[in-house]
């Protein structure tokens, strides 16, 4: 153990306290929100029929778990999301690479990319259903559409931002274009890849839920729409809670991946 000076010890102590305090307030905030929500429902400040309440959500979740449908719906959504996430990340990264390697094509396609990026993908909903049919396929396609454009644009700008001088350096060392690609461009844009993954965690859920709003027989998005239609707000809230947990978990996995690769 290193011996620290008194002032450094004080500094560390303050740091620790600040950290602890931040966490404490975070938890308290959550408890306060839940508490207030419960209180307002039980005192009838707000109609629990409309706002639901934590205890109702818990009751609803227990019911969903005991009849097994929670797993079913969560799994359906997770499955669709992972598919959309995986396919769009791979495709987008690949398309970006092709555009990077073919500057002419990149210049030609640039305005199309911009339009596609600006287009609200939900507008394509009816087309998707007509073209690929209803159900899982349409939902995954919706998820892919939402993620792929931003993936392509982000990765392309990642590849393009690799320092020119490093490319020149590789050339002076006699590197072939393929070597430049695999030893410089791809590893150098890894941080961009991670941030694309992080964005896509959120985006793929957006796409999937939108897809499920559009056409579905199961999934958390289905539960939410269904709950809304029959005015079972407990169901809506429960599905949202589960969705929050799932998205957080997936984000944490990406963050873990980032840490692992960085430490290597």
């Amino acid at each position: 153990m290193k011996k620290y000076s008194l002032s450094h010890k004080r500094y560390l102590r303050n740091l620790y306290l600040k950290d602890f305090f931040t966490h404490l307030v975070r938890v308290l905030l959550l408890l306060a929100i839940i508490g207030l929500w419960e209180l307002s429902a039980s005192k009838n400040w707000a109609d629990p029929f409309i706002t639901s309440s934590p205890s109702r959500v818990v009751k609803q979740l227990v019911a969903l778990i005991s009849n097994g449908s929670l797993w079913h719906h969560s799994w359906v959504t997770l499955y669709e999301t992972l598919l959309a996430f995986g396919i769009s990340t791979l495709l987008g990264t690949g398309v970006a690479l092709i555009l990077y390697l073919l500057p002419f094509m990149r210049r030609v396609l640039e305005p199309y990319l911009i339009v596609l990026n600006a287009l609200p993908k939900i507008a394509l909903g009816p087309l998707i259903i007509v073209w690929v049919g209803t159900g899982t396929k349409a939902i995954v396609v919706m998820g892919i559409l939402i993620c792929i454009v931003i993936t392509t644009i982000s990765m392309l700008s990642g590849y393009l931002s690799v320092e020119k001088e490093k490319i020149l350096l590789m050339k002076t060392m006699g590197a072939s274009p393929l070597q430049i690609l695999f030893r410089l461009i791809i590893p150098a844009s890894f941080p961009d890849f991670i941030s694309v993954l992080k964005i896509n965690v959120g985006m793929s859920f957006v796409g999937t839920i939108m897809g499920e709003y559009l056409t579905s027989k199961a999934g958390l998005g289905y539960l939410i729409v269904y709950g809304g239609q029959v005015f079972k707000l407990d169901l809506v809230m429960s599905a949202i809670v589960v969705l929050c947990l799932m998205a957080t978990l997936m984000y944490a996995l990406v963050a873990l991946l980032e840490k692992c690769v960085k430490r290597r």
Binding site: K166, T172, G174, A175
Partner: protein, 251 residues
């Protein structure tokens, strides 16, 4: 001694949609084996352009560059280029950075590895082999960059303001380091610099360029005892005389 590098009537014009820029005009000079030639000149006069042309990453508009009597068409392993920034790959450790060129050429033989290791050792970086670039100081990084260049055993080293990112004190130290490395590895070097003192301290000859389009204004042979380090040169009277001469030329 034989000319290692000959530059004949070199012209270079840069083209951009709005304008064309003549960067170099009628540039002629040569470098003999074992020499340390510095190029000084006003900002934007085409110094970096000259190095890019010698390195074969840029084609001249007209004129020719001969390296060991062969015309330069593309990058060759006879030339090693060190940029202003060290350009270390942050995701590779020092050993992998140093041996990058060998890997690219698929010549990571035991002999070459041994050479790389001996360079690291000689220049005090052996224990950092498995460190990441971010853990090294600016001066150390610059030495790593030099060793990366040396590993490919180039005959001619091109240095583009390699010390300008360093603080003054480190700069003086690294100048001594680099100078002794280049001497002991028996390399020929062309150094581009803004710093007249640095040019006088390190070179055997200085090429003074005019402002754009760059062309040779004067070539100055420096007369110093080859055993002197750059730092010790600075203490001599001659040093200031040379400075005044070059300063005058650049006005």
């Amino acid at each position: 001694m034989e000319n290692l590098l000959t530059i004949n009537n070199l012209q270079l014009i840069y083209h951009s949609p709005k304008s064309e820029t003549q960067a170099l005009k009628d540039l002629t000079f040569s470098v003999q084996e074992g020499e340390f030639v510095s190029i000084v000149g006003p900002s934007g006069c085409g110094k970096t352009t000259i190095l890019s042309l010698i390195a074969g990453i840029l084609r001249p508009t007209s004129g020719e560059i001969l390296l060991a009597n062969e015309k330069i068409e593309k990058p060759t392993s006879l030339v090693g280029y060190m940029f202003q920034r060290d350009n270390l790959f942050e995701w590779l450790n020092i050993w992998k950075n140093v041996t990058l060129g060998l890997r690219l050429k698929k010549s990571l033989t035991n002999e070459n590895k041994e050479y790389a290791r001996s360079l690291l050792k000689k220049y005090g970086l052996e224990e950092f082999s498995s460190s990441m670039p971010s853990e090294l100081s600016g001066g150390m990084r610059q030495r790593v960059a030099l060793i990366r260049t040396l590993c490919l055993r180039p005959k001619l080293l091109l240095l583009d303001e390699p010390f300008s990112a360093l603080d003054y004190q480190t700069r003086l130290l690294v100048q001594d380091d680099v100078s002794s490395i280049i001497k002991s590895e028996k390399k020929t070097a062309v150094l581009v610099t803004h710093d007249i003192y640095e040019a006088i301290a390190m070179s055997t000859r200085i090429v003074v360029l005019s402002s754009r389009p760059g062309t040779v204004k004067k070539i100055i042979d420096l007369d110093f005892d080859p055993a002197l380090t750059p730092f010790n040169r600075r203490k001599l009277k001659k040093f200031n005389k040379y400075f005044d001469e070059i300063w005058g030329l650049l006005q």
